[in-house]
Symmetry: C2
Subunit: 589 residues, 2 copies
Amino acid sequence: MTTVMNRRDLEFLLFEWLDVASLTESPHFAEHSPETFTALLELSEDLAETYFAPHNRLGDTDEPRIADDGTVTLPAETGAALAAFAKADLLAAQFDGSVGGMQLPLSVFQACMAFFQAANTATTGYAFLTIAAANLLCAHGSPEQVDAWVRPMLTGETFGTMCLSEPEAGSSLADVTTRATRSADGSYRVVGTKMWISAGDHELGNIVHLVLARTPGAPAGVKGLSLVAVPKYLPDGRRNDVVLMSLNHKTGTRGTTNAVLAFGDGTHAPTPEPGAVGYLVGEERRGLAQMFHMMNEARIGVGLVAAAVGQAGYRKALEYATVRTQGRSLTNRDPASPPVPLTDHPDVRRMLLAQKAYVEGGLALVLRCAMLVDRLRVVEDDQQRRRLGLLLDLLTPIAKSWPSQWCLEANSLAIQVHGGYGYSRDFDVEQHWRDDRLNPIHEGTHGIQALDLLGRKVTADGAFAELTAAIRATVAAAERLDDLQEYAEALDDVLMHLGHVTSLITEPEHATGGLANAALYLEAAGHVVVAWIWLELVVAAHGQEGRFYDGKRAAAQYFFRHELPKVSAPLDLLASHDRTALDLDPRCL
Amino acid sequence: MTTVMNRRDLEFLLFEWLDVASLTESPHFAEHSPETFTALLELSEDLAETYFAPHNRLGDTDEPRIADDGTVTLPAETGAALAAFAKADLLAAQFDGSVGGMQLPLSVFQACMAFFQAANTATTGYAFLTIAAANLLCAHGSPEQVDAWVRPMLTGETFGTMCLSEPEAGSSLADVTTRATRSADGSYRVVGTKMWISAGDHELGNIVHLVLARTPGAPAGVKGLSLVAVPKYLPDGRRNDVVLMSLNHKTGTRGTTNAVLAFGDGTHAPTPEPGAVGYLVGEERRGLAQMFHMMNEARIGVGLVAAAVGQAGYRKALEYATVRTQGRSLTNRDPASPPVPLTDHPDVRRMLLAQKAYVEGGLALVLRCAMLVDRLRVVEDDQQRRRLGLLLDLLTPIAKSWPSQWCLEANSLAIQVHGGYGYSRDFDVEQHWRDDRLNPIHEGTHGIQALDLLGRKVTADGAFAELTAAIRATVAAAERLDDLQEYAEALDDVLMHLGHVTSLITEPEHATGGLANAALYLEAAGHVVVAWIWLELVVAAHGQEGRFYDGKRAAAQYFFRHELPKVSAPLDLLASHDRTALDLDPRCL
């Protein structure tokens, strides 16, 4: 059996391309070395294969359910896997030493996470959300809150959630109605219903829910939202008034509980005042900005999930295509000759190469963003920090969306390579496809990411220039290498096209029309960015011999010839200020 | 609640576009009238909504299972629905009066089937396969075989299957190993294992399996295959030696039994000679050609399934987007204003319009092909028949593949429109998406269809010229209509591009390279063909007022502006004789 993630590829990305070793020159990461990074990758691979991969299907078939006593039942393997993850200190890995963390670069940590997400994204979801919650509390919580909640989160005793959506407010956070009222003792009483809460209930430990709520007198819209931490169990051990109303049953990632939670419906009222007891994080009415702190890293994390699940499918399809024989080559009509491996069929090779280009390109993009987070942490020059921040902000919606779209396509191709077997639940690839379908929806839908990119990120002063400069630098490096000039030229051309279209559609008189086609812009910009990433990868691989590097060159060739030319049509459409969707009367549909 | 299929659209396609009424001028269809066609559409809608749609989810959750006595258990609703279908004479509808049929045009019958496939493709699968088997027996079976099996099939007492694949031979029929040996009494004894047999076992009635098998001394490869009918119960009522080995559990279309069947393993041996008793259909070694008779209509039928399931998802997404409110328009920043319906968001309208263009375009393509079958039946001029046959042959792999690819994408967009709700199993769209994922796999995978189109169909003498002539005729009609000239010109240009590329890549020295990228050719040709279909539809709608026709114009505008330009890049790639996949060493993957 193949492993679910290619460690060689991660090492190439981290050490040969991103040069994470250079981070250890800064005081913040000085306690690390390439050897500790490598050891953590090996440990992660081992834990992922031992504790996470084996129950991936079980988590799908034995969905979380509500037992007679109202508690949520999970397979024992889920808890055991998360305990092993915690015991290896991986929950603490990316956090500062001051809170008990390992102070690991995010790029290295995300590479470690890739093993777990590929092995079992549903079980890893509990860790993912806890890390995100701890991250937010570290940034905006008081020292007491950090001590009370972050420390037990990093040891696996307490888990975290993000409670944003409500039954009537999914993408529209402006319409959140959950209320948080300040009590005499300075704590808050929270009343409302939250929907789609991943890891929303379980018996793995205490849970601290980070809840977006509205305080009395707060303005309407997102500016009136505050962030309140609501633990399932209060500091004195009593149950808080957070009640599991029901579990949502999804098409994939079934192993992650997804809950409707009622806050303060009176079932477990801990105080005479109605409401679940909560504690304000930071200041009132700063909730959305604080939540976005978490959301930005979470978006990169979602991109990683998509790429990792895509990779798991790709590797299984590749293994299957290598051992499964079927038919004969196009030029051999002799039925008496033995059947050939599926990889002998060019169309199968094309499907595998497409998967490789999508999943390895997506993974590289995500790690590139994580490396920007790391560099932002260690860079000392303000101007440089500002520039890195602009680039990271611009790339974040792409790092979330591009893998969510194309690694899902990779999962579909992995099914196709398997033929009928791929459609059966005896093979893993159909589950990977269902699991990966979540990623264009949560943490901001594809359409929301598109509005973020075109409506905010590319219009930020200097942001697009930063992207252009970064891509041009790679183009310049590639132009000096004989066999990469074709790609350098193609990327330079399409970058110019993208820049031209960006200017056109962000002009004030065209802005609304442009936003109507923002998804097309997101997708075109994503392909340009991933072409850039592929060019970076083959520049890094230049002069290196062997199959691993030949594979990178083949995938880059696929991307530049088969994929990048796809962007011309949508860019031309955007430049035409097409109003097909904008002007449509929906009553004609 | 919305209905699953748009009857108004089917009536437009049949009467206003295809002019099925003209078929009744021929003796073969003379007993019908537009009124009987309309009555059948209404009946089909009623039966589909009453008997098929209500248990669509039940068929998914209560999968067929093997009971303790070895029989296959299905929900009672499945049998009741099929009984209602049979009672309405729909199993017999497309067959000649001489065998008890209704002698209905295939185009009208497929339109009827669209309701059932949209309502519940898994339950309809049992009827679909029975009709296909009866069709094949009518074409190639003896009068006695027709009497023995086709007549009870048309009344719903007997069901049919196609047994092609084996565990080691899915796409490669040349490697079929099941053996059929002639017995002294002229019947055959069949021994072997067949895999992926849809509707392969159940208790709904007798089952006649149409089995591809190899007779002693037959040559290797597909030329050695014979077609043998193997009933589950013999004419004397005894059990034949066809044994259910296991059920396959799929990601979708779970309600259709999918079986591994052992023929002649001795469990129910009816005769001293080993093997299941079978009866040769037609002559020995003609099995594949005979099976393809069935396969061609089945491929059109698969395209219909894809389009119908896509339509079900589209209509549910449209209804949801109309009633669900969320957020505010892009230009309204006032959070105190009420939320707007999802259809007020241009990106949602774009996703709905894309779905409409895919599912209505796919449906129209399928009905166009069915109409070609009808015209082939009534045309008297040999030359004309030959030309229609060439066009139908060329369109068949596209009619199978294009809806399978793009209506699946429509189903994914239907999930996206629903947001988190779309990912939950409380809504139907995730099931439609899983169900529709089957269609690029069965009845010849996407890659197999591509090889058929490029390797056989477009190279058939005069075939591409027929397509060109048909498209040019539509272009000429559109050029005379002011507001369609833009589309006419665009289609003419891209047709020229397609023709040029077709010549280039079918030149002998490039043929193997071209076949390596056959899937790209299939997809590009598919988009050109569907653009032609959309131009036909707006020509038919020209001068007509009202929202229905405006909707057709909007979808055509979407297709011509957003979709058709996508074909330039793959056509250019094909013209470059790209060898990326062809030359790839799979050990680099």
